[in-house]
């Protein structure tokens, strides 16, 4: 905290606002990312479930009569689902009857189906095993496996990251964005006097008064300093050096 002792209160307040809004923004973004990731994954799960059900039902005859050509034709309809990168139909003995790979995708499939209905989350993919049942007898005749790409989710998260970064960059209290030039201009004005904000504060506490005494125009080179000086010391600059803490706070607030 010693580090902030010499920082003007306005600066401190700005810093507090900055930390508060930044924290809020980071927390909100984290919550948004988490919600978005979960909801997309759940939507994808539902989609996989439906697709597996429909495709499995359609391929039940092909599977029952061991007809890989018909099964391949059915799996080929998955072309209309760009998120599905690969699929496979296994017979009851776990032997693949036919498979499907999206153009340009890796030819990766589990050698044997999972014993249970299950979602398998990989690094960039979500896999799903579902049993294929005969509608009349309700007995399992095979297993279908669908593998979906999580690329869309990654892209969406990236987009959110960009949006949040932009919001973070252009937030009103950051001094960035459209007001940035103006602030830089102000800073340049102060720098024209050869001193920065911290330097001025130092002057106020220790070296300002003797300097003014030596050269009455020294503080008037830069307009804001002049204005502040007038406000603070309507009569003489002598009072400035002996200003109480309350006066100093009042001064900083007005500034």
């Amino acid at each position: 905290m010693k580090l902030l002792r010499d920082v003007p209160i306005k600066r401190k307040l700005t810093l507090i606002f900055l930390i508060t809004t930044s924290t809020a923004l980071i927390l909100a973004s984290a919550a948004l990312f988490s919600y978005e990731y979960r909801s997309y994954r759940n939507a994808l799960k539902d989609e996989l479930l439906t697709l597996a059900q429909i495709t499995g039902d359609n391929s039940s005859v092909a599977l029952t009569f061991d007809n890989p050509e018909d099964a391949a034709e059915i799996l080929g309809t998955l072309r209309a689902q760009p998120q599905i990168v690969s699929a496979c139909i296994y017979n009851l003995h776990g032997v693949p009857l036919t498979n499907y790979f999206r153009l340009g995708s890796e030819h990766i499939l589990p050698a044997r189906p999972s014993a249970a209905t299950d979602f398998v989350l990989e690094k960039d993919h979500l896999g799903y095993f579902a049993p294929i049942l005969n509608k009349k007898t309700k007995e399992q005749i095979g297993t279908i496996y669908l593998r979906a790409d999580l690329h869309v989710l990654r892209e969406r998260v990236k987009l959110y990251a960009v949006i949040v970064s932009l919001v973070f960059y252009f937030r009103p209290d950051s001094g960035a964005g459209p007001d940035r030039k103006k602030n830089h201009g102000t800073k340049r004005l102060f720098d024209a006097g050869g001193k920065n904000e911290r330097g001025r504060t130092g002057q106020f506490h220790g070296h300002f008064q003797p300097d003014v005494g030596a050269n009455p125009n020294a503080g008037c080179v830069v307009t804001p300093i002049q204005r502040r000086t007038r406000t603070t010391c309507p009569g003489t600059h002598q009072r400035t050096s002996t200003a109480s803490a309350a006066e100093r706070i009042d001064f900083e607030f007005r500034r």
């Binding site: 039940s60 005859v61 092909a62 029952t64 009569f65 061991d66 018909d70 009349k136 007898t137």
Partner: protein, 165 residues
């Protein structure tokens, strides 16, 4: 698996993909009857096993048991839901199919031109595979609903034989 083991499994599977009208059964829980007409090709005399009976053993479809009956030409053929006409009945095929026209019986055989003569499903031989042809017109005549996917995997023979006087 031997040829008749596969064919027996196919007969059981046909039942899964064909719908019979309610009037095809005596009661709500009446069994599904598979009739075998002529000499039984599913019987393996060397091992004394019947592949068809093995294939349906303990199986039920929509709460109906499945039973196998060995029939003779003089029997009431319309009492079964699926009738397998053995190749031994090749010479009497026309007469048998004539008797079953419009009845709710799914006729199956492995005889040449079976579908052309009014049969519904006929096994055909392909190298290393057992395939079948279906005459959907005859199935329709018997008010049997065949799953469209089953038609997809079969060779379709759409022929309606003329009714002999």
């Amino acid at each position: 698996l031997c040829e008749y083991e596969v064919k027996a499994a196919f007969l059981y599977n046909f039942i899964k993909f064909v719908e019979w009208p309610a009037s095809a059964f005596e009661g709500k829980n009446s069994p599904i009857v598979i009739g075998v007409l002529g000499s039984d090709p599913f019987l393996d005399t060397s091992s004394a096993t019947n592949y068809l009976e093995d294939a349906i053993a303990g199986k039920t479809i929509e709460d109906r048991r499945i039973v196998v009956l060995h029939l003779e030409r003089a029997s009431d053929l319309s009492s079964c839901q699926l009738l397998f006409v053995s190749p031994s009945e090749k010479n009497h095929l026309k007469e048998i199919l004539q008797r079953l026209r419009g009845k709710h019986v799914l006729t199956v055989s492995e005889t040449e031109n079976f579908c052309e003569q009014g049969g519904i499903i006929n096994f055909i031989r392909q190298p290393g595979k057992v395939r079948f042809e279906i005459n959907p017109l005859m199935a329709e005549e018997g008010h049997l609903k065949i799953n469209s996917r089953l038609l997809n995997v079969a060779k379709i023979i759409s022929v309606q034989p003329r009714i002999n006087p």
